[in-house]
Symmetry: C2
Subunit: 298 residues, 2 copies
DNA sequence: AATTCATGATGCCATTTTGTTATCAATTAT
DNA sequence: ATAATTGATAACAAAATGGCATCATGAATT
């Protein structure tokens, strides 16, 4: 098997014309070159592909078999080269996108929808993961884009602000604070907190806890849940209160009261984040779409 | 699209190893040659296929797309080359075989069955045609093998005797001759004959008529039919008599009597026949199988 | 029968492609 | 800081491909 695409192209031409001189002309080469190329191919396969008399050329049965295969292969390769170029320019492809509860409760759905409208050739595969896991998956190439709680300070990653939300206090509707218009953070010092589990929510906590510490207390956590729905469920049945962000706290359903936190200027930022090397076409398209001007390289 | 199978092979190797030096070693070439080949491929496609840092090589998304296509194409080509060789050696393929009523009523079914048993990879496609048409189709490459009434005297065709049968007289069961043990050919001079239509049966007649002429008469044809079944049908309902061969006259069913013809040494020969150029593998196998020693080249 | 014609094969040389060795440049590990 | 790893580059060698002139053969023409 030591022939090339060139031989295959020539073979197809001869099979189509059944005439060496004409096929050679069509290929833009001289007839002897074509004769030689076909001979090489025949030797390589140890198969006679054409019956040639000096009057007529006809394809052998084996030649016909080979022709079918060659036609398919050539189409496949051409098609594939085209797809490759489209994948390169980002017209087709797959984008694995990580998201947090915060991102999905906020502006991510609209972003994905809008992007799909502009780039219908791309398949988006969203994966729900907390920020830490997303960072790991980005590193290991299991995600192209993450939507995480930020900002992140890590080299090799670029990011872009997607949303910024105030923290709010969520209590069950019979709670003493339930009818307050606002609370101050330090008022929560003696409350029982429901939190996300330490391991998975470490990232979120790393933004919230310093603020509590600044307000002079460490939250008294009496219960942990694995996700937002779990936290809000525990809150609504009276286990305690929690602090989340505006948009996500809306998803809790009845039995809950959301109270703005007074004098708290810090917001929880959700960032799109991606590896700055390996900028493939699809990723580039998505990032360009996101940025529309407001890049924040690390 | 000006790259070759070589580039594709190299690309697959690099994609598998994700390491130029190792891939080169595996391919049995030096690393710079491989680097250059991949660069050529990338330029040709205008697509970066690998992200290379000095420490790691990873495939791009576009590269992955191309890899899939290349793998398929390579498999296809390798598979196809193999099939081509098998087709050449006659292990696989198709054989279009023409046959006359005589051949099919005689030994052809056993021949085809026996050949299929020995060469299960070959597809046999039998076509019912009178000898003339078969010869034309052989010429035009629409048949590989014909089973015709012979012998044939034509250059470029080889043949091989398959069966040789006595002529017999077929009459309806109430016919005056019906209870005779044998007849002589000249006794049929005054009988009404049912024949095959002149055009299609010309070939059969060209063997039978000279024998009648030698016996001193020209058959009085009162009815023509298109095929053997038609002839025997007309005979059985009393339209006349006919002369056919032993085996085929057995297929006529009731109402008919078959009478050997006395003192008639000539027999109707059925020959396998094929073009002597264009000896493809499948045809060669079939011919070798048929001959088992007794070739009759023209 | 002799001649011409059509057509694929062959020999020889030029050009292009492919490959090798030595070396560089950049990055990581020690 | 130094050594090691690894892909890219340069210069040259080998192999492949292509072109031109010519040959060989069988068919068509005279």
């Amino acid at each position: 098997m030591n022939f090339g695409l060139r031989h295959i192209r020539y073979f197809i031409a001869v099979a189509e014309e059944l005439h060496f001189s004409r096929a050679a002309e069509k290929l833009g080469i001289a007839q002897p070159a074509l004769s030689k190329a076909i001979l090489v191919l025949e030797n390589e396969l140890s198969v006679r592909l054409f019956h040639r008399s000096n009057r007529h050329v006809q394809i052998t049965e084996a030649g016909q078999t080979f022709l079918d295969g060659c036609r398919n292969a050539m189409n496949l390769i051409e098609q594939s080269a085209e797809n490759t170029q489209r994948a390169h320019s980002g017209q087709i492809g797959t984008l694995r996108i990580g998201y947090t509860d915060n991102a999905m409760a906020g502006s991510l759905p609209q972003i994905l929808k809008a992007f799909q409208d502009v780039q219908p050739g791309l398949v988006l595969k969203p994966h729900h993961d907390v920020s830490n896991i997303q960072l790991k998956k980005l590193d290991e190439g299991e995600l192209e884009i993450g939507f995480v709680t930020g900002p992140i300070n890590r080299s090799g990653l670029n990011q872009c602000l997607v949303q910024s939300e105030k923290f709010v206090c969520v209590v069950y509707k019979d709670h003493p604070l339930a009818n307050r218009k606002t609370v101050r953070l330090e008022e929560l010092a003696k409350q029982n907190f429901v939190h996300g589990s330490s391991k998975d929510w470490e990232h979120f906590h790393s933004y919230l806890l310093p603020l509590c510490r600044r307000a002079g207390f460490v939250p008294k956590v009496i219960q942990e849940a694995f996700n937002t729905a779990g936290i809000l469920g525990l809150v609504s049945c009276g286990m305690g209160i929690t602090v989340l962000t505006e948009s996500i706290s809306k998803s809790g359903g009845t039995g809950l009261t959301v109270i703005p936190i007074q004098d708290m200027s810090e917001e929880l930022q959700t960032m799109a984040i991606w590896k700055s090397d390996t900028m493939d076409g699809t990723k580039k398209r998505f990032v360009d779409f996101l940025q529309q001007g407001n890049d924040l390289p690390v």
